[in-house]
Every structure is written in C-alpha cells, then in structure tokens.
C-alpha cells in the first residue's frame, strides 16, 4: 500500500442493533500515510463508530477496510500490532500509579524489561508527567489524565494512532502539550487519525480532513486545498457549518 492510501475504506456500512437509521451509510475514503487526518463532524455523525470499526472493536455490517495492506476481516491480529488507540474515555486504572498503568499496558502489548522502562520514562518526560508518575491516577487532574491516556495509546510506538477527541475537557496548557507532542510524533512517521469538535484545533493540527454527518462523508481531502477551493470561506469552521447546517444535534 502506498503512502497515498495507508488506510482505505470502501462502502463501510453499519447499523446498531435496534436502530432504524444506519450509523454509517456506505462511506468511502482513504487516509494517506504519515498524515494527521481529522475526522470531523457534529455529535452522532459517525466519527467514533468509524474509529471503533477501524480498530476492530466494533463489527461492520458491510464494506471493506484495508490498513497498511492488511484486510480488517482477515488480518485483525496484524492490524492490532500496528495501531494504537486513545479512546474518548480515560481508559486507565484509577487505583494504579501512572507507571503501573503504563507497565501493565506495555506488557499487554508484549513489551518488557529495560526497553519498556525506557519507553515509559521517555513518554512521561515528553508529556511532563515524570515527576508525578508514582502517584495514583485518581489523584491526577483532568489534563494529566488526558496526557496519560494518550501515552497509554502510543506506548508501543504504533505506526497508526487513532485519537477520539483527545483534548476534550482540559486546560489550554495540557492541550498545547498534547498537540505539540502529536505534531512531533507525526514528524517521526506516525500516521494520526483524529476526531474532534474543536475545529480551530483541527485546522492547526490536521493536514487532511473528512467531514462526516448522518453517517455520510460530506467532504474529504487536503485541508488547505479545501479551504482554497471554497474561496468564499476563510476557515474550517465556516466550511463545517455550511456543510452540516446549524441544526442542534442532541445525539
């Protein structure tokens, strides 16, 4: 698979049990390698569903997904080895310290010994958690938990990193640290697929985007090209509102 299409999604369709309306309606798009790709959309648009299917947590009804040349249907085990996921929830054990959480997650990814310890130290230092790494997670602030949640997803140095709203509910300082780290990570070759409600943040971070609403991809492509092509709009937010409308989305 080329750099142009590290992830290739074709006609992805998904309806949740008990729902009449499909969550994803035959969506197709490609994500180039070594990019920061923003999957943007209002609440309930289908962002998290797409991400959860891509990482193998949800089952799709139909369609094909290829990640780094591996088929999601046939090579899930291989895919799991090259992806990292930072879920929207703080998926950590509150009564363990940051180091204990990371050591456990590292072990579950097959890492061990000195290599694991070095990697934990490196990540904690980069996200400014090294001094508090022996504290229980339940004593952490929201921003610290978010940063640790991020480390937990990328500890095993995945080739592709999925981030589901990684900066929600945190202060500007923590957000800045996270975004700078993501950019740094991307420079080193990690492809990042990222969902967010913060369009300004996405505009600052992403090289390409897709806007999804009601389970349909409305627009997809390089962010700067999209802004240039829509000359009447100066930023991502206006494009977003034009495509998705101003109707409130309660779910």
């Amino acid at each position: 698979m080329t750099k142009e299409s590290l992830i290739k999604i074709e006609k992805l369709f998904k309806t949740y049990k008990g729902d009449d309306e499909p969550a994803l309606k035959n969506i197709s798009f490609t994500i180039p390698g070594n990019e920061i790709f923003g999957l943007l959309g209002p609440n309930g648009a289908g962002k998290t569903t797409t991400l959860n299917i891509l990482c193998g947590y949800y089952k799709k009804d139909s369609g094909t997904v290829q990640i780094n040349g591996y088929s999601l249907d046939k090579n899930l085990k291989e895919i799991k080895k090259i992806i990292g996921v930072v879920p929207q929830d703080i998926a950590l054990y509150e009564t363990l310290t940051a180091r204990e959480n990371l050591r456990f997650i590292g072990n579950m990814c097959g890492m061990r010994g000195k290599k694991l310890n070095n990697r934990i130290n490196e990540c904690l230092e980069l996200l400014s958690l090294d001094k508090s790494s022996y504290r229980l997670v339940k004593t952490y602030s929201g921003g610290m938990k978010r940063r640790l949640n991020l480390i937990a997803g990328l500890l095993h140095e995945p080739k592709i990193l999925f981030l589901d709203e990684p900066t929600v509910g945190i202060d500007v300082q923590s957000r800045t640290v996270i975004l700078e780290y993501l950019k740094e990570l991307n420079k080193k070759g990690t492809t990042i697929i990222y969902t967010s409600h913060y369009l300004e943040e996405a505009e600052q971070l992403c090289s390409s985007i897709a806007i999804i609403d009601y389970g349909t991809i409305l627009i997809e492509g390089n962010l700067q090209s999209l802004i240039k092509s829509k000359s009447e709009y100066s930023d991502l937010e206006t494009i977003f509102l034009q495509l998705t409308g101003r109707k409130l989305r309660d779910n």
């Binding site: 949740y16 049990k17 959860n52 990482c55 193998g56 947590y57 949800y58 089952k59 085990k77 799991k80 080895k81 992806i83 996921v85 879920p87 929207q88 929830d89 703080i90 998926a91 950590l92 054990y93 509150e94 009564t95 363990l96 204990e100 050591r103 456990f104 997650i105 072990n107 579950m108 990814c109 097959g110 061990r112 229980l136 937990a152 997803g153």
Partner: protein, 426 residues
C-alpha cells in the same frame, strides 16, 4: 505468560488498594461466620443449655404440680417464675405478660389435676382386679381429664413449642404411671400380703446411645460449629460476585476493557487472570473463616472447628466452590448493564440459592417440591461436599460428584458469558 502475570499483578494491586473492598472481601465473611454461628448456636442452645424463664402457676399443689415443677427445674433448661414484680400470677397476668413478649411460655396446672389422675388410676386398677366391679373401660375413658393450660408467645417457633410440650408430656406421663403403679402395687400387696415395696423407676429401662454415621477412623463430633462454619462459608464465598462484577463492569464502563480488547493480546487472558485472582481471594476467605471457627468461636464457648483427616479433599472442595462462585460472578458481570443491577440481582440470587441449597434450613425439612429444586443450587452442592468432609468424615471420593457439578456449573457459566459477550458486541 507475560500478559497473564501482568494482569494478575494488576488485579492484586487493584484489590489491595481498595480498603473498603478488602473489608467486604475478607472482614465481612469473618463477621458473617462469627455472627451466624453464634446466633444459630444460641438458638440450638435455647432448648439445651440456656435457662429459659417460664411463668408457672400451680393451682394443683399436689403430686402432678410438684412433679412438673421439679422436672422442669431439674432439667436445667428452665427457670420457673411464680411471681412477677412481687405480684402473684394469675391467668390474666400470664396472658398479659406473654402478650407483651416479656415471657415466652406460661404453664397453668389446674386445681385437682392430681386427683383426676388418682381417680382414673383407681378406676383402672379396680376394674382390673375386682371382677365384681361393674365399671367398664368406656366409663374409665369417660372420666374427666385434667387440662394443663400452656400459654405461648405468638412469636415462638413451632419446633421450640413442640419441645416444651414433649418435656411436659414426659413429666405428666411419668407421674401418671407412678400413681397408677402405686395403686397396682397396693392391690398386689393386698393380694399377696407382702410387706415388700415394689420399686417403680420412672426413668424406665431403656437407654439411648447416640452413634454418628461418619466414615471410619474419624473423630469428628457433629456440633453447631461443624454445621454452621462450612454452610456460611459457602454462602460468603458466593458473595465474591459483588466486588468481581463491580470490577468487570467498571472496566467496561471506563473504557479499559475496550483498550484491552483492541490490543494484540487476547482479552481472555485478562479474564483468566481476574478469575485466578478471585479464586485465590475465595481461598483466603475460606481460610479466614476456618480461623474464626478454630480460634475465635471457641473464645465464646463454642466447640473448636475440626477440619477432619481429609485435608486434600477439603482443598479440592474449596477450590471447586471458589471456581463456581467466580464463574457465576463473571457471568453476572458480563450480562448486567450496571453494577447496581449486578449487585442487587446477584445478592438476591445468592440468598435464594442459599435458601434452596439448605444453608438457612436443612433440605430434608423442606416440602417435597422444594427438595427437588434444591438439587439445582450450586450452594447445595458446595454445602453437601463440605458436610461430607466436616461431618461425615468423607474423603476425595465422597466429594467427587459435587466437585463435578460445581466445575460443570462453572464451565456453563463462562460459556454463557462468552456467548453473551459475543452477542452484545456492537
């Protein structure tokens, strides 16, 4: 193996850092065993050892009244009160005191009760010895019987009431027999012109020897501790479901289960680690509960718990019960949507299974259909297996059917949980 050991270490850390959880896991079962065994033992002793105060009103003031009074006092189980707050008893006062729950039993011996026995005995004897006596057996039967009034607190248990009635019947029967015998002796003395007294032994000639149908070479003596400790231990072990379901549901709710599922390692490893840790917790719980039976309960005058000669059988039985309890918790933790759901349904289901299984009342006194249902309770299998070891002195062979049932139950529970997990997966 790295994943398994790491998951086990993680579970242990989570358990030991949850102080309230540790109290639930280890302290509560010990308190449960302690309290329940003491309560059950005191209920048992109420008849045997505790001296129960009985209101006693003797209008008879003759042999029967005396015999009952001496019999009840001599039994060592009862104390007789003939006054209350310096007031003499009467039927109305006895009724009031029992109605207020101040006493549980009142006995009123009617006036002339002994004379009634004498008259009847005299008639029976004279009818037997005097061929001219025209009294027939129907006339003897027609004699007025004396009625001893027994007042019971409405809250008293039927079994307890029955025991008191049996004791009274023994005393009255003995005095009736003695009086009848005296008349007979008198008649014989007249016939035989013998000066020798004929001795009447009211205790009779039959003695009882209690033997327990235990296996050979066992020195276990069944008592309330041997009964209660294993029974309540099984009950407490199944309450592992409260912390374990909480652990599973919390992991699912906070997203850590999702994180683990999308890692290259299998989530099954995490579940196996969880099960192993909680089986070990059950084992520690059981050991602590044995400690209560062997050390703490004897401090309160109860017999020391005897483990019996078959320690390996005991170990196998504990592990099998722990596996069943843990598997049941995994099943509930998987099916329930919230911890509240799991905790409330889980607790009630364990209580129901315990009741069905014979933890609260023995299975043999349940109605027939309940006895049939009781055999499907895993707590019953656990209980019967432990009874085989603690009371019947049985070995590994005797517990194998119950071990098989418990392991079978565990396999089915985990299988259902696995299928349900697959079904629920979005």
């Amino acid at each position: 193996m790295l994943q398994l050991f790491s998951s086990i270490y993680k579970e242990i850390l989570i358990i030991i850092r949850d102080k309230a959880g540790i109290a639930i896991l280890f302290l509560m079962p010990m308190v449960l065993i302690f309290v329940m065994t003491l309560i059950q033992d005191s209920t048992f002793r109420k008849l045997d050892e505790a001296r129960l105060e009985i209101l006693f009103l003797d209008y008879d003031q003759d042999s029967l009244g005396m015999a009952i009074k001496q019999g009840l006092q001599g039994s060592g189980f009862f104390e007789l009160a003939t006054t209350y707050e310096n007031k003499f008893l009467d039927q109305e006062l006895i009724h009031q005191l029992l109605n207020k729950g101040k006493f549980q039993i009142g006995i009123i011996i009617p006036n002339g009760a002994t004379n009634t026995i004498r008259n009847k005995a005299e008639l029976i004897v004279s009818q037997a010895f005097d061929s001219n006596d025209s009294t027939n057996i129907n006339e003897v039967k027609a004699q007025d019987d004396a009625t001893i009034i027994l007042y019971f607190d409405p809250a008293i248990k039927n079994s307890f009431k029955q025991s008191v009635k049996n004791s009274l019947q023994n005393f009255t029967f003995a005095i009736e027999a003695k009086i009848t015998f005296d008349y007979l002796a008198e008649e014989f003395s007249d016939i035989l012109s013998s000066p020798n007294n004929i001795y009447f032994d009211p205790k009779g000639s039959i003695r009882f020897e209690e033997l327990y149908a235990t296996d050979e070479h066992t020195e276990i003596i069944p008592n309330s501790v041997q009964h209660n400790v294993p029974a309540w231990a099984v009950f407490a072990m199944f309450f592992i479901l409260i912390p374990l379901t909480g652990n599973i549901i919390k992991e699912r709710d906070n997203g850590t289960a999702m994180r683990l599922e999308i890692m290259p390692s299998s989530y099954l490893v995490v579940l196996i680690a969880k099960a192993l840790v909680y089986i070990f917790v059950c084992f520690i719980q059981f050991c602590l509960m044995l400690l209560v039976g062997m050390v703490f309960l004897p401090m309160f005058g109860l017999p020391v718990l005897e483990l019996g000669p078959n320690k390996m059988a005991l170990f196998i039985m504990v592990i099998s019960t722990a596996i069943a309890a843990t598997s049941y918790a995994i099943l509930l933790g998987t099916i329930a949507s919230t911890h509240e759901q799991a905790a409330s349904f889980g607790s009630v289901s364990v209580i129901v299974l315990a009741a069905l299984g014979g933890i609260w009342v023995p299975v043999f006194i349940m109605p027939g259909f309940m006895q049939a249902i009781s055999i499907v309770s895993p707590l019953n299998w656990g209980l019967e297996g432990f009874y085989n070891i603690f009371l019947r002195g049985g070995g590994i062979k005797s517990i194998l059917p119950f071990v098989g049932l418990l392991i079978g139950f565990s396999i089915i529970s985990v299988f259902i949980a696995y299928q349900f997990r697959r079904f629920r997966k979005v």
